[in-house]
């Protein structure tokens, strides 16, 4: 038990050190921006990983919750006069309620059927956002008012680097702790065998729903952070391709690995930025890298590499 606590602490400490040290080697504010994007994507991915990696349920429409969080902080202050920081909470609450209501019937489905149902949910939310242009600005998107907390105006890529980094630390801490609670262990039991989990008396439906709601709230908060950071939001953030990106981050990093989600986000967010050098070959290379990574590290980057290190250490 002590070792587990230490391992968790070490993971958090390493992450905090990385976040603190990176600015020393960043040559321009562009790097701060890209890093903030990594932290935001990682936050959403960690949440999705609780659903996919721990509880073993797939969601192909998770960007819907990301979009709800993002549009809550855009619409709330602009149209309804709600203070920006309250809008974050309202977005998270809306996401949680939607996940709870829809999750009940949807999570009865298994495998590919669950995938198509969550995909359908994602498409519906994205459609509503695109269509209700009176509120959301339609396909062109809408501007987001700056976040101000107690008179402090949060703006600039440097400030947002620290804010998103802090959010990621909190998210990581919660996810790591969750893994060691009875709920976290129930999630793992579900993942290994739903029937076995049911037989030992776990309320399977309730735990699936919990994982879905937690994942939705993570995505919603990440969406709010991104909307404030960019000062602008468009429906692509809630779209199918963004859902696919989130799932890809989780799987490439490693299902069930919190660190994996951060590494996956780092790879999938920085790669397109790095590949812009190759201009039109960008997508070709991105697709190729995803395929090769999945073939040679089919359990994801972090689990595959740590298995390799362990094997080396033992021999």
């Amino acid at each position: 038990m002590r070792a587990l606590v230490n391992q968790r602490f070490i993971t958090l400490a390493v992450l905090a050190v990385v976040i603190a040290i990176l600015p020393l080697i960043f040559p321009s504010s562009y790097y701060f921006r890209v890093a903030s994007l990594v932290w935001v994507s990682a936050l959403a991915a960690i949440g999705l990983n609780i659903l996919m990696g721990q509880a073993g349920q797939v969601s192909l429409g998770h960007a819907a919750f990301f979009g709800i969080g993002a549009y809550a902080v855009a619409i709330g202050p602009t149209h309804l006069g709600i203070p920006p920081w309250v809008a974050i909470l309202i977005g998270a609450l809306l996401s949680a309620v939607l996940a709870y209501l829809v999750g009940r019937p949807i999570l009865r489905l298994k495998g590919h059927y669950l995938a198509i149902a969550t995909l359908g949910l994602g498409v519906l939310v994205a459609l509503v956002i695109t269509t209700e242009s009176r509120w959301t600005g339609g396909p062109d998107g809408m501007p987001v008012e700056r976040l101000s907390l107690f008179g402090w105006r949060v703006s600039g890529s440097y400030t947002w680097y620290w804010v998103t980094g802090g959010l990621l630390l909190i998210g990581t801490w919660i996810a790591l702790n969750l893994d060691e609670t009875p709920t976290g262990r129930a999630f793992r039991a579900l993942h290994d065998s739903e029937v076995a989990a049911q037989v030992v008396g776990l309320d399977v439906a309730r735990f699936k729903l919990q994982a879905f709601v937690i994942a939705a709230v993570y995505a919603s908060v990440a969406g709010s952070a991104l909307a404030f950071m960019n000062g602008f939001i468009n429906p692509d953030q809630a779209g199918f391709l963004h859902s696919v990106e989130l799932v890809t981050i989780v799987v490439i990093g490693g299902l069930g690995s919190v660190v994996g989600s951060i590494v996956g986000a780092a790879v999938l967010v920085t790669l397109p930025q790095a590949l812009t050098v190759f201009q039109e070959y960008e997508h070709l290379l991105l697709g190729l890298i995803i395929i090769v990574a999945m073939i040679f590290m089919r359990n994801g980057i972090v689990p595959s590499l740590s298995a390799l290190v362990f094997r080396r250490a033992r021999s």
Partner: protein
């Protein structure tokens, strides 16, 4: 009545394309258990290769054959270099691989061709045919007829040839199929090639109506997947019926209720169907072995 008929025909036409994409999904899923998200890219390839071959002076029928062959080649390459090396990986890993493949193919098409929209001339003129007051594009008949031919050909292949029965055997139980001497790797390659050909045919048939560009595949893959699930995954009849239903839902929803929420009806109905019948309309209730 004329209006109803108009929606009916346009729904069936779009539905036929969804049905072909769903059929491609089903063929690969049955043979290998892989949900191939690059399925829409075959449709894109069918349309794009035909457009560019035709623009280079190749007669249209020959251009179509070239496009189908190109799609089959890509399908076989996909199987050989992306799916086969990852044999035994988890379902979600395989899905990510096919998503990677679809990004790759899209990028490739943007380089080899371009990022513009392209049109093919209708096979037999653009003069609408009057059917009980509804104006029907002649190309709609090509789409519906072509789909019928593909479905019939696939049925005859699966039910009345030895190779087709080997495909069915592989779908039913891969291990047992291998035990009776079926080379399941060849069967899987065959499924990817056949599925690519079906996708390409759909692309060629529909391009005169809907245009094509390097990125049309994503939405088609999504709709095709939805259609396959609506019918019940792994059931070819379900795939065709699911595709047609999806097309009709969209056409009638757009016509009578709201055209901006066209895509919403399809997915709303899928959600409702799955709530009521978690295995799709024609899916068999799976028995889980513990």
């Amino acid at each position: 009545m004329a209006e109803f008929l108009q929606f009916l025909i346009s729904g069936l036409t779009v539905g036929a394309v969804y049905a072909l994409v769903a059929l491609g999904f089903t063929l690969i899923y049955n043979a290998s258990g892989v949900v191939n998200f690059a399925q829409g890219e075959f449709v894109m390839l069918g349309g794009m290769v035909t457009v560019f071959a035709a623009a280079a002076g190749v007669p249209l029928p020959l251009a179509a054959v070239i496009a189908i062959c190109a799609a089959i080649a890509i399908g076989l390459l996909l199987h050989r270099f992306a799916i086969e090396p990852a044999r035994g990986a988890s379902a979600v890993t395989l899905i990510i691989i096919t998503i990677g493949a679809s990004i790759l193919l899209r990028g490739l098409a943007a380089i080899v061709f371009d990022k513009q929209f392209h049109k093919l001339p209708a096979f037999t003129g653009d003069t609408p045919v009057d059917m009980l007051g509804a104006a029907v594009q002649p190309q709609s008949f090509w789409v519906l007829g072509g789909t019928a031919v593909v479905v019939l050909a696939l049925y005859i292949f699966l039910e009345h040839t030895l190779l087709g029965k080997a495909v069915l055997a592989t779908a039913a139980n891969r291990l047992a199929a291998r035990l009776v001497g079926i080379n399941t790797t060849t069967i899987m390659a065959l499924a990817f090639g056949g599925s690519a050909a079906i996708g390409a045919i759909a692309g060629i048939l529909v391009t005169p109506i809907t245009l094509t560009s390097y990125d049309v595949g994503t939405l088609l893959a999504l709709k095709g997947f939805a259609a396959a699930m609506l019918g019940g995954m792994g059931n070819p009849v379900g795939a065709v019926v699911g595709g047609m239903l999806l097309g009709l839902l969209e056409a009638f929803g757009a016509g009578y209720i709201s055209s901006t929420y066209k895509d919403a009806f399809a997915f709303l109905v899928i959600l409702i169907v799955l709530f009521a019948a978690p295995q799709g309309l024609f899916g068999r209730r799976a028995v889980e072995r513990v």
